[in-house]
Symmetry: C2
Subunit: 321 residues, 2 copies
């Protein structure tokens, strides 16, 4: 645009972030000290996904996150499962019991108070969800899972964007090599994360998680819980003009009406920027859920790369009008 038009239609400040995957600890600390330098009319972030190929969309909400590690210690060392099996607690079995107890048969999280602060959808948002695909077909196609599943009473799109979730991100203990080893292991552990929605507070949920596990863990093991990562959820009002102009730009460039989505992922710095700079944050991203984010072979569609550039320039022009 500088080469062709000689100048940009609006002033642009660029902020680069390289720590997003570990929760942006540096930027979070730096932000409040640099508010004047960052003074602006709006913040534009490009780190989200489109609803599908050829279907432009804007995430007007993001889920927050709290991420913990749970370690259990039973016997002093690994034991022979013949010599001790049936007479001492097995940390793997206990861990499985704890994890299984965190959801009920309706896939609702059982931690007392977990849903207390969840903001119910208002009429405008409910109507907006009606403009979106139900989501199951897209999730099945993008994930290759045999079936969808989730909290009873909600659509797939709502489960992803408007409802919190709880997932084990890793589990370990004992022998995992080829063949059989009859060990009763001394230790087992897991990583558990919860995606949070407005107005859940990550530290509050983390504390509830800890208190609940400490209540239900049996005395046959010693448990340690380590907080690894917290991030706030984010929500931009659908009526925000900067959001609407971004949608118009996407509609124009992609030739298809832009939809508004409650995103399932988390970008902790987005909530921090909204809070510190007190300006709208617009999420115009061009990824696809099928692009294997956080997995081997992560990639980015080149067509969306070029259309994304066009849409970003179009947005700058519309903002100047």
């Amino acid at each position: 645009m500088l080469k062709v038009a000689g100048k940009l239609p609006v002033s642009v400040k660029l902020l680069y972030e390289g720590e997003e995957e570990i929760g942006s600890p540096g930027l979070t600390a730096w932000l409040p000290q640099n508010k004047e330098r960052l003074a602006c009319d709006l913040v534009l972030v490009s780190d989200t996904s489109m609803l599908g190929p050829g279907q432009p969309s804007i995430d007007y909400g993001l889920r927050g996150l709290t991420y913990c590690q749970v370690d259990l210690k039973g016997p002093a060392g690994d034991l022979h499962s013949g010599g001790f099996g049936g007479a001492v607690a097995n940390p793997i079995n206990v861990l499985a019991g704890l994890l299984a107890a965190l959801k009920d048969e309706n896939q609702r999280v059982t931690i007392p108070g977990f849903y207390d602060d969840v903001l119910d959808l208002d009429e405008q948002e409910r109507a907006n969800f009606g403009t979106l695909p139900e989501g199951s077909a897209e999730v099945l196609a993008d994930s290759g899972a045999p079936a969808t599943c989730g909290e009873a009473g909600f659509t797939t799109a709502q489960r992803l964007g408007a409802r919190p979730s709880l997932d084990a991100n890793g589990i370990w203990g004992g022998f995992s090599g080829t063949g059989a080893k009859t060990v009763l292991p001394a230790e087992a552990g897991m990583k558990v994360s919860m995606r949070l929605v407005p107005n859940q507070d990550p530290q509050t949920i983390s504390d509830l998680f800890r208190a609940h596990l400490e209540k239900i863990v049996p005395e046959t093991v010693k448990m340690t819980i380590t907080d690894l990562h917290n991030g706030h959820p984010f929500l931009c009002p659908l009526s925000e003009p900067a959001l609407q102009k971004a949608a118009q730009s996407l509609t124009e460039v992609f030739g298809k009406k832009c939809l508004f989505v409650r995103g399932g992922g988390s970008i902790p710095i987005v909530a921090e920027m909204a809070r510190e700079l007190k300006r709208p944050v617009v999420l115009m991203g061009f990824g696809l859920l099928s692009e294997q984010a956080h997995a081997p072979n992560e990639h980015f569609d080149l067509g969306n790369f070029h259309l994304g550039l066009k849409a970003s320039l179009t947005y700058l022009r519309r903002l100047a009008d």
Copy 2:
């Protein structure tokens, strides 16, 4: 004995086994073809533990074993837990649910039919258990576990020797490195073994395990169960003269009355030899449960090594009388 006395008091045939830890597949196949070569009055095996330091004991029973691997596959590849969390099943969460569902709150195995063939203790065995320590103090000391636990209604000694058990020997899935990775993994797996008691049949129990899991596994994952290892339980009548003479030998050499124990471990070839050779099998072993069998730093007490040699020679002399 050959050097000092010039001859052995009885004929001795030596049979060496190097595959015990993988269930003796070679010896099990070789045994029926070599019955004449192995013809004998009794079989003596030294692969068991004493009840404690200075306390000689004989395992007159052994638990059998069935050992399986359970693999779950959910999505086609690892997913971002923000993009999909709450809308597709997480194989780790599902696996934990399956494992947790295998025992109830009384630590009883919930597989239908699991206890059907368990031989109840008769009066003689019940009286014999009365001569033994209850077992909890020994298990706590040898394992370093914070507490004992097990099937309601049974002592620790009974839980170990006279009751079947179910343990996860390993579990894996997702991210287990340092820090946080927000992955919703494609796969998770576990190794599960069940120690069996007379008259449970390992293949029958393995089939019940498989059928039960296939019934309760949700359609949101694909499950594969692999049989890894089977072994029959073993029981020698307490009245067997060869057993009583072995106990007398141990009492004489250790200077303390030998006790009769239902061992918690499994030696599959013992049940095979009893069945094929139709002779009593006597288990005179000198290990200790504190010697970290199957764990780092496994060791063997030198005092018991020397007393064990003496007791074995004493037994040969008593058998000749």
